[in-house]
């Protein structure tokens, strides 16, 4: 118990003192996961729209696969992206392994299935009457998809927040693709793993508290954008 209490005390000291290394790790975590969420949204929302609005063979099966991938272990996603970005891999020439950009890709791959799935849920929550109305008003298919996505935006935001939460809290992909390099790819979760393995419990707890605070601030900010 004492360790946990000390952890909290030290955590608040670290946070209040604005420790530069913690600030740096925090900013990096935030940027990487926001970017990953952005990239994933740009891919997943149109993809979800396409799956929702197009009829094709194997659609049901594809949706099942996507839902299965919600449970994609972060380490597996990380390994997959690692093999692709590795110098010996197909995209090795880009030199993205062990870089923040590589981590963005890894986290995006990880959360795309969740975001596609949430897009499908959001869209199926939009009444058929709305798509009829939109179609009868002379919308082209892309206008219709866009309008219906706007209708579903509350649920979509929920999915985006969920995706961001998964991205910022995962450690497997960040560790494998980023390599936990100090000053370059060390993010909150990999730092927590490292500090814990080195027995620095208080420091780990401090980082954990910061991570939760970030999640809270980002979630609140997204809700504000959405409410506007």
């Amino acid at each position: 118990m004492n360790e946990i209490f000390d952890g909290f005390v030290q955590a608040f000291q670290l946070i209040i003192s604005l420790d530069p290394e913690i600030l740096e790790i925090t900013a990096r975590s935030l940027l990487i996961s926001l970017a990953a969420t952005g990239v994933a949204s740009l891919v997943a929302i149109p993809l979800g729209g396409l799956i929702h609005f197009r009829e094709f063979g194997g659609k049901r099966g594809l949706i099942t696969i996507i839902q299965t991938l919600y449970a994609l272990p972060t380490v597996v996603a990380g390994l997959f992206v690692f093999l692709i970005l590795s110098r010996a891999g197909p995209l090795g020439f880009l030199g993205l392994l062990f870089t923040p950009v590589g981590m963005v890709i890894g986290q995006a791959v990880l959360i795309i299935p969740v975001l596609v799935g949430m897009t499908l849920v959001a869209l199926s929550g939009v009444k058929k009457a709305i798509s009829d109305e939109v179609q009868a008003l002379g919308a082209t298919s892309s206008q219709a998809i866009w309008t219906i996505l706007k209708e579903a935006r509350f649920a979509l935001f929920g999915g985006i927040i969920l995706g961001f939460g998964r991205a910022i809290s995962e450690v497997g992909a960040a560790m494998i693709i980023g390599g936990n390099i100090r000053g370059s790819t060390r993010v909150l979760t990999t730092a927590i793993a490292l500090e814990t393995s080195m027995g620095n419990v208080a420091f780990s707890i401090a980082l954990g508290i910061i991570l939760l605070c970030i999640a809270m601030v980002v979630t609140a900010a997204l809700f504000l954008i959405q409410e506007r």
């Binding site: 009457a129 009829d132 939109v134 009868a136 008003l137 002379g138 706007k150 935006r153």
Partner: protein
Amino acid sequence: MIVFDHVDKRFGEREILKDLSFQVERGEIFTLIGPSGSGKTTILRMIAMIENPSSGVITIMGKDTRAPENERVMLRRRMGMVFQKPVALRGNVFDNVALGLRFRGFPGPEISRRVSEALDRVGLPGYGERDAQTLSGGELQRVAIARVLATRPEILLLDEPTANLDPVATELIEDLIISHNEENRTTIVLSTHDMIQGQRLATRIAVVLNGQICQIGDPHQIFYQPGNRDVARMVGMDNRLPGTIVENEGGFARVDVSGVHVFATCPYPPGMHVTLSLRPEDIWLSTGSGEGKSSARNILAGTISRMTSLGPNVRVTVTVDHGVPFIAVVTRRSVDDLSLCQGTTVQVSFKASAVHVTRADTEKNAQ
């Protein structure tokens, strides 16, 4: 303007519409009348190209609707449909009304101008800033109409446009439909279950029953010469009596209805089984011996078996000899003047020309 050529529509096993063929001419108000579930809405949705026919061809403004999607969008943009249960998209009324214009890529100022014009026309001036989710059913219906009017459609499709409205708003919308039709020669196809509205608005009426069009004609034809018993029931011919022609002298026939003899005008020969249809408004009731004043050929005595209030009017069922019922609608004032009540003996009179005679053997599939 709109041509249906042997159109069928099935949803899975269920056949919704059977072998529909009809035309709507430019500038007319074409009204689909029928009970709910008869297929009116599906016809409108097929014209709007939200549903496609299972077989047959629909041509709109000279264009086969089986065109590629981009051409179908262009065709849809020349039409507008107001759904029976309109939906509001998230956002304010302005955005809702502007939606069709935005799809068409109109510039901002033009959109503003047209939206406020359309809101004025449906009697909702200044509603632009309101949250569309907070509108009442009637307001939403009018917003939906404004949304379509703003796009200035050449064909206006209205599915039960006044079903959710109070009488004042109904009148406003009916006036709007008529004036829009007159000013812009807009072709209007509307569906309703309100016979009176159909009569008020329509250039032509199509009666839709069980997925088929039973009769098409102008309101007078539909209301006074229903093609068969079902149509008659549909259009409010409460008196439908089966009978047999006893004699016919130059189109003036005597018809035996379960032992009661009724005079009617019709071309059918003696011995033919027919159905007599008679609008309740065309029956007069009287007490005592005022028969001489009437020009009616049919005067029958009976007792009042039932009275039902219809607001200012009363629906009176009179049973004459052999238990044959006649239904009349009279004003409440007449009821008071004649002291009518259940059991009162009255005389039923109606003109021979008010009786509409149809051949019984055409009942099932008259056009």
